[in-house]
Subunit: 566 residues, 2 copies
């Protein structure tokens, strides 16, 4: 039986997005095709006046990350390619001219194939998804929010008109800050080590079933980072994704799946947990080929990764955000959205009157990284002419995963080995302590993906716990860690609290990133961190750890500096 | 007496824009500065995993356009620059990392100086304007519209809440399409050869004084292209700008000045008009140094150009959009907004949760074009190390102006010489014609700026005028021109009609661009165009010029293909 097409979800479109008219220029195209036509109609500047004659780059070979072979090759985007096929033509005359909102044709073609054939070869609805390029996932999310939510102004609108957005209990705050100024309800869903809970107290079912309509409409949009969640590092099993998807079907919720870390999934987290702790409360997610019953991705690595919500999206209610920020560079400001065609069509209309298209500079240089040269001069160099192509790109992603997984391992091994302060281990200073063998200073879940470890700090074991509330101890710990000799700057949990309910318990957490530092710094820096914990647990007072020194603490995340799921 | 500061215009901010919270991370910065601090807080990926080791380009020397010396030099953005000064540091480790919404520091610094010291050295309010980079002016305008307008939904809101936007009678439709889906009133203002009229029937005063409040609020925002207007090619004198500004003060209107063509001002238009017609109804705008009474721009060329609305903006109600689309390339998707600091601050908040920043690929490559290499390897090449800098950049702009002015001249000379069909000049075929010496087929104003000529077609002189309404003749002319042997594709006036009132007379006009074709094609193509006019005026019927063939005619502009003021 043929799969049914995706549902019509246009009832969720915002007023302004419904109003956007498709461009009717298609009738014009046939005139552009007339041989010898003199084009007085375009408002395009003349390409001979672009001051760039080439764009070039030295780029890594795809094996750099898994072989540590550090050589690079040169790629060149010429002024004008003789290639006729627009899907393969990469030159400045086209890339630096006005383009189409879907993205530069060679890059759009590559990403469409990557999404449909390799990342998500088994999307269940008829015809499969489409893609549109974005200027990164922050841009992608802002367009999705524009598409699917109406601004609510309490001075002007009825409470019954107020829309809502679901998110994880601890979340990437830049996304929340996209939503909040629009006057929407933000409803957080409780989490466990994997991520968002489907059932149980505070889980998705609970939130949706018990929605208090006095706050406004039941949320129709979910923002979620199901893989390597920011800040918790959890990854949802496919079973959990199915439970959540079923609830979203029942309550007609659109799932916006933000997956900047999707290819950074860490199978070793399970084994390491078992190795150190004897067992693991989370399931082992990496024991199967997820595409075994459908089409293969063509790569064992991709087949092994927990698949996207798109893979179970029979109704077409998943909008997935991807980005090159973690796989190429954040400054690329390049990504794409994958969703059912009707949604991509609306996002295209929004793109035409906002960003128009990602910069041709980055589109051409990324396209050329992938395809290599296609002009005549490439013939002199086999390496360049071959490009990365799909095989090289996937190899790069797998190498990147290995590098980040090694960092995660270095950090978490030290965190694991230093969770406890042992009685007597620090000499006479422990007189005031409870007489126990050991005191647990913190706990954590080995991250199954992403760039962060989420540390649950046990302030209730601190010797000063009866003198200071945990919020105060938390603030003091943060300052203490920044001081000599520890010199560690960590992200306080409060920076990831989207709702007052989350904020109440946020003081218990800190987020530590293993991504930004050099790889040989991860272990020594983490060592300094755990020594900072130990010395904090040995303090007899909080002198010098409050007041003005703490002013950096009560912070919302800096959008570009600290947040960045996208 | 010191100039007063700009007005507080926050009452014009949209609900969602008022709600946006400034990032409070500044308290955090001091911790980043602690020597030896281990940064666990950033979510940044590691720069060593960016696959680009360099970005390079062959670029023109600034004198290419005025000397036709076609050599190029190589610029290189290295992986890591040793420069400490972030205003001058241009490398991939910074440019491809997360950045700040204001833009890449070296480029922001350059553009801020370009805007404040050279383009607009005499902004009258205290402190002067600030700048923020955009992903081109379509992006800039969409952010300005988000900042200053609330969406109006007739099913939900009162008519008294409906906001409005003023624009020229014929306008760049992509901008209008940004506004219309939000449910706003679009109110068009009548124009003359210069552009928007301040007074008289349908002029700005008339529209604002006689506003019909049954339609909604009086417009508080104006979208205007005062220089080289798209589609008309008109440029407003400084006197006209002052009249319009005074009305905007009186009625508390924010002026959004879109100036993609500002540096393409054509002094020769006046002389050519006088030469061919004996006189010119428009004033000669190029007889003075506009900065003579204030600070010089430092360049005779910039001093000679009709200054921006910013130069008379004593209250801080001008928001100016600039773009690199016409000066570097449209595909750069790079531009900037100049306005009073409080407006730039709100646009920064919007940028943080939308585009974040323009792509680092284009920011680094444009910065390097301007500054040249600043790393050690540059020492081997004086040419590269010198960069374009401000002098080179302004020289490039002036060269660009000269090239486009030459194209305008080539086109308009032929249009001028062929406005009339002379009685008897085509032999026996003219028997049915009125017995006059000559028939004027069209008229036009020599464009004082931009990329287009706006042709006012005199259908009332056509021999078939009594058989067909002018709308029908207009459609037929458009098809006729696309046919052999003329093969000319022009933009019908209806593509630039923002309101029904404009649409009523739009059939009279066509827009012809001299920008996109090769420079040696302008004359022969225009020759084909005027021959197309002549043969159309000799037609005795409209056979083959109606019905399905005309389906391309009733078009809204394609955003990226045909519109593009930005």
């Amino acid at each position: 039986m043929a799969a049914p097409p995706p549902l019509d979800l246009s009832h969720h479109l915002s007023y302004a997005t419904k109003n956007k008219k498709p461009s009717s220029v298609k009738g014009f195209y046939k005139y552009f095709q007339i041989p010898g036509i003199a084009n007085f109609a375009g408002g395009l500047p003349n390409a001979s006046y672009f001051p760039y004659d080439t764009l070039e780059a030295k780029v890594a070979l795809p094996q750099r990350l898994d072989t540590k072979e550090n050589s690079s090759v040169r790629v060149t985007v010429p002024k004008e390619s003789k290639t006729k096929d627009v899907q393969r033509k990469i030159d400045l005359t086209t890339a630096l001219q006005y383009g189409t909102a879907a993205g530069y044709p060679p890059l759009n073609t590559f990403l469409r194939s990557f999404a449909r054939d390799h990342l998500h070869p088994n999307v269940p609805y008829a015809g499969g998804p489409e893609v549109i390029l974005t200027c990164g996932s922050t841009d992608g999310f802002s367009k999705v929010v524009e598409a699917f939510t109406n601004i609510w102004n309490p001075d002007r609108d009825w409470i019954q008109q107020r829309e809502g957005v679901l998110c994880e209990e601890f979340a990437y705050m830049n996304a929340i800050q996209t939503v909040q100024p629009r006057g929407l309800n933000v409803a957080s869903v409780a989490m466990d080590g994997q991520g968002m809970l489907a059932s149980g107290e505070g889980g998705l079912q609970h939130v949706l079933e018990n929605w208090d309509f006095r706050l406004g409409r039941r949320p129709h949009l979910m923002y979620t980072v199901p893989t390597g969640q920011n800040p918790t590092g959890g990854t949802l099993s496919i079973e959990r994704r199915k439970e959540i998807y079923a609830l979203c079907q029942k309550y007609d919720v659109i799932i916006v799946e933000d997956e900047p870390y999707w290819n950074l999934q860490f199978p070793s987290a399970y084994q390491n947990t078992v190795h150190h702790r004897g067992s693991c409360s989370e399931p082992n997610l990496y024991t199967q080929n997820y595409n075994a019953e459908g089409k293969s991705s063509g790569y064992a690595y991709l087949d092994s990764l927990v698949p996207s919500y798109l893979s179970i999206d029979i109704e077409g209610r998943v909008v997935r955000l991807d980005t090159f920020s973690k796989t190429i560079a954040p400054g690329s400001r390049l990504g794409w959205v994958t969703a059912q065609p009707a949604i991509i069509e609306r996002l295209t209309r929004i793109t035409e009157v906002t960003s128009q298209q990602p910069s041709g500079f980055v589109q051409a240089l990324v396209a050329q990284l992938i395809f290599g040269k296609d002009d005549d001069s490439a013939k002199s160099s086999k390496q360049i002419a071959s490009g990365w192509h799909m095989d090289g790109w996937v190899r790069w992603l797998e190498g990147l995963r290995a590098r980040y997984e090694a960092r995660m391992h270095d950090m978490c091994t030290i965190l694991e080995q230093n969770k406890y302060l042992f009685h007597g281990s620090t000499g006479d200073e422990v007189d005031a302590w409870e007489v126990v063998d050991r005191v647990q200073m913190y706990d954590f879940v080995w991250p199954v993906g992403g760039m962060f470890t989420w540390i649950d700090v046990h302030f209730d074991t601190h010797p000063l716990r009866s003198q200071y509330p945990p919020e105060k101890l938390s603030k003091a710990l943060w300052i203490h860690l920044t001081q000599r000799p520890h010199l560690c700057l960590v992200s306080p949990g409060g920076m990831f609290a989207p709702t007052p309910r989350s904020a109440e318990k946020a003081h218990r957490y800190i987020r530590v990133a293993f991504a930004p530092m050099e790889s040989d710094e991860v272990a020594p820096f983490t060592q300094r961190l755990v020594e900072g914990f130990r010395s904090f647990w040995q303090r007899k007072n909080l002198d010098g750890l409050s007041g003005e020194e703490a002013q950096g603490f009560d912070l919302q995340p800096e959008v570009n500096l600290l947040g960045n799921g996208c």
